[in-house]
Symmetry: C2
Subunit: 152 residues, 2 copies
């Protein structure tokens, strides 16, 4: 049960490339593992950590957020607090994404029925009078959703 894996074995188990695992280490989302003659050796804790990371990624957290999660989990006690905080902060983002995606979907359905000969006359492209639900806003993206850190 307490298997020790090389980076290649670990990568295979998670369907990742070794480069990805080294990258996680570089950005601080995985700790530096023990070494045997220079090579990384991963124990069960690293495996668990990678499992958590994978789920967090699927849940839409960025690596930065996942790092916070994992670090506060290391720090001992209030791991659940930051998980709840992160989830609570993420929820409105995801909700907004869903609303926009659904508006987008409605627009696309209308577009598939369109037979205007030029875009100039097509009502789909009049600003305002947009989709049934008028909630289409910024361009969609989840990886970048709270973004604009570098805005002026």
């Amino acid at each position: 049960m307490d298997e020790i894996l090389t980076i290649g074995q670990l990568a295979k188990r998670f369907g990742l490339k070794t480069s990805a695992i080294r990258y996680y280490e570089r950005v601080g989302v995985l700790p530096e593992p023990a070494r045997e003659s220079g090579q990384r050796r991963y124990g069960p804790d690293a495996i668990k950590r990678l499992e958590v990371l994978e789920v967090a990624k699927r849940a839409g957290f960025t690596l930065d957020e996942a790092r916070i999660l994992l670090q506060s989990s290391d720090a001992g006690s209030p791991a659940f607090e930051s998980l709840r905080d992160l989830a609570a902060r993420k929820l409105p983002e995801v909700d907004a994404l869903i609303v926009r995606a659904q508006a987008m979907r409605a627009w696309l359905l209308t577009a598939m029925d369109c037979s205007c000969t030029t875009l100039d006359v097509c009502a789909l492209f009049d600003r305002d009078a947009q989709t049934p639900t008028s909630a289409v806003a910024e361009p969609l993206s989840i990886t970048h959703v709270g973004g604009a850190k570098h805005a002026a």
Copy 2:
């Protein structure tokens, strides 16, 4: 009514930065406008084009796709054809996005109720047994959704 705008005025009207408009020109999504002593001057056609572009962007099309749309609209005849094609190609992507976002939302709701003291014991982070709808997959993003052109 046939106003002539400078790049700054055009940008203000669309809530863009001038750099964005120049960028659109650079990537071929806007044509090169007329110039007055070196400066760009935009007429009603450019304004309409930008309106279409904005709607297309909000509908989730990439700039590349928008360029196709606008070019075939310039080329005269079957604007609606490429619009319908693009819309039909985009729809499943958007549908997949919605499914994943909803699974993510469910996971987040569960996470907000979690009171596990460490992540290690938290069932949320067991792979498999994930969300009610098991459809969480790749990390979400729309800007990149058909992506993986550079995959090995």
